[in-house]
């Protein structure tokens, strides 16, 4: 106690600050950092959850390098990212840009766009999965068949399956991005637009010279946020392809699903951890890259 009494006010503030910070710090160390560190450790071991762990060095990583499925999955993961992020970014911006101007039923429309974001991904994936079925139960194919158009094989085709799985995932994330974009649009000072109006500038110039540059922080946030989301895509894929997870022929399998499968179906924890470490590195590199590309002082 005397020790505390002898501290200066500034030092006392620090003690209090750390006192309060201790709980979240402890939480992060125990719940986040400890398992993360353990995952790195297990990635150099062989463990089937039952027996003891044995050291195997970099064997798991070598196996990963030579695993054809892993490279297929690697490409899929980036396909989700490279198709999903731009499409959802552009769509959500267009929706937010126009929704911002709508006066009629504004709140109701905003709610409609936000609703999918609040819906459970599992329920949504199952409903879409049934939409995609062939006749007699698939909604889309029943409509096509009604017009005498040949059926489209959505989830059962190597080429169509990935976009079919991605579509509801984009739709589900849209509401959140629209809300963030609208907040960004509202935060741009009206005086800029007024000045542009006085100068008689066209809407395209206003969009490209005022709106988009001032939205940069919002765009950075959404790009990083949705990229991480698409790199970690799992629930939509898993639920839309439960019978044959990631199929057909691994054409929809993302990295997270491969990790899940290795860990909880094959019980190969070492190999699954090695995949997790790779996913971690991908997420890290992609996020740093985006922050660097979209940083404000360029």
């Amino acid at each position: 106690m005397t020790m505390y009494r002898n501290l200066s006010i500034r030092q006392k503030q620090i003690v209090w600050a750390w006192g309060f910070l201790a709980i979240p710090v402890l939480f992060y160390v125990v719940i986040r950092f400890y398992p993360t560190g353990t995952a790195f450790l297990i990635s150099f071991q062989d463990w089937n959850l039952l027996g003891s762990r044995t050291w195997v060095g970099i064997e798991n990583y070598q196996k990963l390098w030579h695993d054809a499925v892993f490279w297929k999955v690697f490409r899929n993961t980036f396909a989700y990212l490279l198709i999903g992020t731009p499409i959802s970014l552009i769509l959500s911006f267009i929706i937010a840009y126009h929704l911002d101007r709508v006066r009629f039923a504004h709140g109701f429309l905003r709610m409609l766009y936000f609703l999918p974001f609040m819906t459970s991904a599992v329920a949504m994936a199952w409903v879409w999965r049934w939409f995609y079925q062939d006749v007699p139960i698939g909604l889309f194919n029943n409509i096509l068949a009604g017009f005498g158009i040949p059926q489209i094989n959505f989830l059962g085709s190597i080429t169509n399956a990935l976009p079919s799985v991605l579509a509801p995932a984009v739709w589900a994330g849209l509401g959140f991005q629209v809300i963030i974009f609208m907040a960004g649009l509202r935060s741009i000072p009206v005086s800029y637009y007024e000045a542009a109006k006085i100068d008689g500038v066209g809407w395209w110039t206003v969009l490209t010279q005022i709106t988009l540059p001032l939205l940069r922080p919002t765009i950075v946030f959404i790009v990083v946020f949705s990229s991480i989301g698409f790199l970690r895509i799992f629930d939509h894929v898993f639920n839309m392809t439960t019978n044959n997870p990631g199929g057909p022929l691994n054409s929809t399998k993302p990295l997270v699903l491969m990790i899940y499968d290795t860990a909880f179906n094959s019980f190969d924890m070492g190999y699954a951890s090695a995949q997790t470490v790779v996913l971690f590195l991908i997420l890290l590199v992609v996020s740093l890259l985006q922050l660097w590309i979209l940083r404000s002082d360029r």
């Binding site: 039952l50 999965r129 190597i158």
Partner: protein, 417 residues
């Protein structure tokens, strides 16, 4: 006086010893299984019967969600906690033996020769180095479900007896719309469901092959018989047009919705079909080949004694295991859970073997095989992709089965290395 005192002391000691000895005899053992309501109900009933017959033993049952089961068992036993008798899927047994989590069943109570003689033959998959490690109370097998209403509608008399008849019946029972899209399949297919078992243990054998060799460590279906089996399977859709993989999402969904005339599934499906309104269904044995040869696949959950059980707990565990593998327990399991008895002495009674619903399944047990999986889901995946490659990438049947066999062999090699 001293004598009296001595007598009293001795007397007191005797009473105390008596008290202690009854206390010591009241053994409590733990039993673990995963949570499935009917299984828990059946087990409660069995434990009650067992405790009535063995008043000095109490059995405490714990159950967990299926998803946590493996980790819980693995964490508890080495720590000296957890079950003395544990229920496992037969396919996990190897992992548990290797991790030292379960001990062989003592041969004084479970003489391998007696078990060989008393149980259906596929239970021998639980024997390792001449000793049984675990035994099932109940088993499951496959059979052909058929929709009686759709059969009547198509003028079909009864279920097919042979593979050839299967194709003919399926043809008569298939419906398409004006654009040629299937609206009702004669027969369901889907390697993701039970078909991978049907293919490996039934079709390959019926075409004259052997799916595996050397105690399931070598893949041997990559030969003429295997190709014939795959060709038959693919042909159902490619040549005969009586089915489509993934029709109505899942085979069992199509059958439940009366959009499929015939469907191969396990005995565990009976409960789900019983509750479907308006569905009139029957069961038949899996079709034989032209020579009348039949085969079947059987899987089961087994009970084993963990390495934690020692001394009097081991003795109690042995008694519980004996009861769980008794005829009485098997009948209870059949009545409550709907799973088939693991012994012919219960299964082949007139009432059971000729039961309209259970009969075909039970008769199938006599010629059933149990695949020893190293990794069931990964091995199933090879079957799924084998069919997908033929349909989606135009690979030939011979190439596709060769690729599947090589990939499955790699899984086995890694497991048994």
């Amino acid at each position: 006086m001293t004598n009296k005192l001595r007598q009293m002391v001795y007397g007191g000691m005797t009473v105390a010893a008596g008290l202690f000895s009854t206390a010591a005899h009241a053994v409590e053992i733990e039993y673990w299984q995963y949570f499935f309501e009917a299984r828990v109900t059946a087990m409660d009933q069995l434990i009650e019967n067992f405790e009535a017959a063995n008043p000095d033993i109490t059995v405490k049952m714990s159950h967990f969600p299926y998803a946590d089961y493996r980790t819980k068992v693995a964490a508890a036993i080495p720590a000296g906690e957890g079950p003395d008798v544990v229920q496992l899927f037969y396919g996990w047994l190897n992992d548990y033996i290797e991790a030292g989590l379960i001990q062989p069943l003592p041969t004084d109570t479970f003489d391998p020769a007696v078990v060989d003689a008393e149980f259906f033959p596929m239970v021998q998959a639980m024997k390792k180095d001449g000793q049984y490690y675990a035994l099932p109370t109940a088993v499951r097998s496959l059979a052909l479900f058929y929709n009686e209403r759709l059969f009547d509608e198509a003028g079909i008399e009864g279920p097919p007896e042979t593979l050839e008849e299967l194709v003919e019946v399926a043809k008569a029972c298939t419906k398409r719309d004006g654009a040629g899209n299937l609206t009702q399949v004669g027969f369901t297919t889907g390697m993701t469901a039970q078909d991978h078992h049907w293919f490996r243990e039934v079709l390959v054998r019926q075409m004259g092959g052997e799916p595996y060799g050397e105690d399931y460590t070598k893949v041997t279906y990559d030969d003429e018989a295997g190709q014939k089996a795959l060709d038959f399977y693919i042909g159902l859709s490619r040549d005969h047009g009586v089915t489509q993989s993934g029709f109505m999402d899942e085979p069992q969904a199509a059958f439940k919705a009366s959009r499929a005339c015939m469907h191969i599934d396990g005995s565990f499906r009976i409960g789900a079909l019983d509750t479907v309104r308006g569905l009139k269904w029957g069961v038949a044995e899996l079709p034989a080949n032209a020579e009348g040869e039949r085969s079947n696949y059987s899987s089961y959950w087994v009970n084993g004694i963990t390495s934690k059980a020692e001394g009097e707990k081991l003795e109690a565990a042995k008694k519980l295991m004996t009861y769980l593998t008794s005829d009485e327990a098997m009948q209870v399991w059949l009545d409550v859970v709907g799973e088939l008895p693991a012994k012919p002495s219960v299964g082949m009674t007139d009432a059971n073997a000729n039961d309209e619903v259970f009969g075909p399944f039970i008769r199938g047990l006599a010629y059933a095989h149990t695949t020893k999986f190293a990794n069931e889901s990964a091995q199933r995946q090879q079957m799924v992709e084998m069919v997908e490659r033929v349909f989606l990438t135009d690979q030939s049947v011979a190439d596709s089965i060769a690729e599947a066999a090589a990939a499955e062999q790699a899984i086995l090699d890694e497991y048994y290395k």
